[in-house]
């Protein structure tokens, strides 16, 4: 710089101190200290590492990973406005409302960057903006906006493939729950069989005698069973398009069986639907019994489950916003309606 240049430089510029900041992509820029210090994280860095930190290119303060250069300049703009003490609350509000108008992607980045710099007011501002975007939308719409894959449906669908208990190595409560439901369903079906007649008892005898044989034939049984239940589940799948129904209707399936069984046998303690999901008693999850039901009975159960699934589809919460389709709880045997009234109490 020549002397002429030095003369042009205003005194204020000489007074300002600058801090050097480095982003993860390696680019280093210098920022007025008072603006940078508005960010708590930078403030702490400076205080912690002593006054030498950020004072030159070599010892620039490295910013967290989530802060890319574009976001940094945005955040600095924000700080530049707000660190001026003389502004009124209204001014700040107006500025913020204009500032926050950007597409969803940048909002997410901004929230992330502000959070890593611990700039709480900006985190609040961007979070509120994101919340306003999410507000009042259905899950599908939210997924569209945020470009999120639906990994919930797949996960639960995968579990649905077999009615066998799943290996629960991680002691995942979801798997525990599903296994319980499977076991319960198998139990119900078995009980239904018992109510029908004594033929079942003979079968049981056979089995106890043929215990060893069945163990040897275990594989065959499994094959038979999975193909049966796969068929059952495939039918169910066709009628469902929302993930929650799988779990819900499966459990509804259990409910229906429960109901119809009790309608024959008399009074039963109807567990409420919610209790079923969240507080099942431990059943024997391990050994499963061969279904061996007659196809007619199975068909009936299948139909009931599908019917319920269809009904649930139409009464799903997503449609319970403003565009609710009329729910038709058509009476399908006394069991279904009785269950409803029981819970209404």
């Amino acid at each position: 710089m020549s002397e002429a240049d030095m003369a042009i430089i205003k005194p204020e510029m000489m007074m300002k101190s600058y801090i050097w900041l480095e982003t993860t992509d390696g680019s280093i820029q210098q920022v007025e200290q008072e603006i940078a210090m508005y960010c708590p994280m930078i403030c702490h860095e400076v205080l912690q590492k002593g006054l030498g930190a950020g004072s030159s290119k070599n010892c620039a303060i490295s910013l967290p990973q989530r802060v890319n250069p574009a976001m940094l300049s945005l955040i600095l703009d924000y700080c530049r406005f707000h660190q001026v003490p003389g502004r009124s609350n209204k001014e700040r509000k107006v500025h913020d409302e204009k500032f926050i108008r950007m597409d969803t992607k940048r909002l997410c980045e901004l929230a992330s960057a502000a959070d890593s710099l611990q700039l709480k007011p900006l985190v609040d501002l961007s979070s509120r903006a994101l919340a306003r975007i999410i507000e009042g939308k259905t899950p599908e719409e939210i997924r569209e906006i945020f470009h999120l894959p639906d990994d919930l449906t797949e996960f639960i669908f995968y579990q649905e493939e077999k009615l066998e208990p799943l290996k629960n190595l991680m002691d995942d409560p979801r798997i525990r729950l599903l296994n319980r439901l499977y076991a319960k369903k198998r139990k119900e079906l078995k009980e239904r069989e018992k109510l029908k007649g004594k033929e079942v008892e003979e079968r049981v005898d056979e089995r106890s005698v043929d215990d060893l044989l069945s163990f040897i034939n275990g594989k065959d049984h499994k094959v038979v069973k999975t193909s049966k239940s796969k068929k059952k589940n495939k039918k169910r799948k066709e009628h469902k398009n929302k993930v929650s129904h799988n779990l819900h209707s499966k459990q509804q399936g259990v409910q229906i069986v429960d109901e119809t069984a009790s309608s024959v046998g008399g009074v039963s303690n109807l567990p409420s639907m919610e209790d079923d999901i969240f507080s099942l008693k431990t059943d024997s999850e391990d050994g499963y019994v061969d279904d061996g039901m007659d196809p007619v009975l199975k068909e009936m159960l299948d139909r009931e489950v599908e019917d319920f699934a269809r009904r649930l589809n139409s009464s799903w919460v997503l449609s319970s916003g403003q565009e609710r389709q009329p729910v038709h709880f058509s009476i399908n045997g006394n069991g279904a309606t009785r269950r409803l009234t029981a819970i209404d109490d």
């Binding site: 919340a131 507000e135 929650s244």
Partner: protein, 283 residues
């Protein structure tokens, strides 16, 4: 005697003014620019028109016409299926009740809006990868959501589902909705989502999800509730923790016009309540 005749004409105009004033106080148009409230506002307009557009006083008709036009004009910005179906409902009411000229104007607006919507949805086909946010930012965002949106979010994906099961979210919702009438025993490890759900089902509170309106006894008006409270500060101070009495669309319309229509939705309330909680929390 002249006073008699005057008395006869006076009540009529007073009634007319009353309706118009009430309608203005309802601030239906203000809600149209709100993403969440747009469907509610449209439904109110539809119901009012259906109940008897032709019998309304002239200036009220003008207001409603103006608001219908705004509704259609704002439709492209509302990117939800709920908004689209609410607008469809509104255009049906318009088609059956409006006089020819106004009807045509409104329908033109609606069609333009539909075209704009289509253009919008087409341009959103780019596959951008959004940055994944840390869990606690999600929880922070969700803390601003109402019940319906929170439940919606829990079904979006696995990570969102986990984030929505955060106890603090449900605790504040519980506080907001039930603390004025329920005394709950707080123990360590309490599952707030469960607690909330139980109270919700107990009180058959599906109104919370289907309403944007509440009646505030302190200012004696029907308002768009701000997190279940009256938007006016003085009323909030006076009411403390007590939330507003929520109102459904048909109740609002009854209040406005002095009618006694009932909703055809009342039967499906219970099913909707149960359907909500069917979705388990994946921990």
């Amino acid at each position: 005697m002249k006073p008699g005749i005057d008395d006869q004409s006076k009540p009529q105009t007073m009634i007319q003014e009353k309706y118009t004033k009430r309608y203005q106080n309802l601030k239906v148009a203000e809600a149209l620019s709100n993403n969440h409230l747009y469907p509610f506002a449209c439904n109110e307009l539809s119901s009012i028109i259906d109940l008897g557009y032709s019998q309304l006083p002239k200036d009220l008709k003008a207001f409603i016409f103006r608001d219908c036009l705004s509704a259609f004009r704002l439709l492209p910005e509302m990117n939800t299926s709920a908004a689209v179906s609410a607008a469809n409902l509104l255009v049906k009411s318009v088609e059956s009740a409006f006089p020819k000229q106004k009807k045509n104007l409104a329908i033109v607006e609606f069609k333009q809006a539909k075209v704009a919507l289509k253009r919008r949805t087409k341009s959103h086909d780019e596959h951008i990868d959004l940055p994944s946010l840390p869990q606690d930012i999600f929880v922070h965002i969700f803390s601003f959501l109402d019940l319906y949106s929170l439940l919606s979010s829990s079904q979006v994906s696995r990570s969102w589902n986990q984030a929505t099961s955060e106890g603090s979210l449900w605790r504040s919702l519980f506080d907001l909705h039930f603390s004025h009438k329920v005394l709950i025993h707080i123990y360590p490890g309490i599952d707030w989502r469960e607690a909330f759900k139980n109270e919700y089902i107990l009180y058959k509170s599906s109104k919370m999800l289907r309403s944007g309106r509440g009646y505030c006894s302190y200012c004696d008006s029907v308002v768009w509730h701000d997190n279940l409270r009256c938007p006016k500060k003085q009323c909030r101070l006076k009411s403390g923790k007590k939330p507003l009495d929520l109102m459904l669309t048909h109740e609002v319309v009854n209040y406005l016009l002095g009618t006694t229509s009932s909703s055809d939705e009342s039967d499906s309330e219970d099913e909707a309540v149960r359907g909500l909680w069917a979705y388990p929390t994946l921990q």
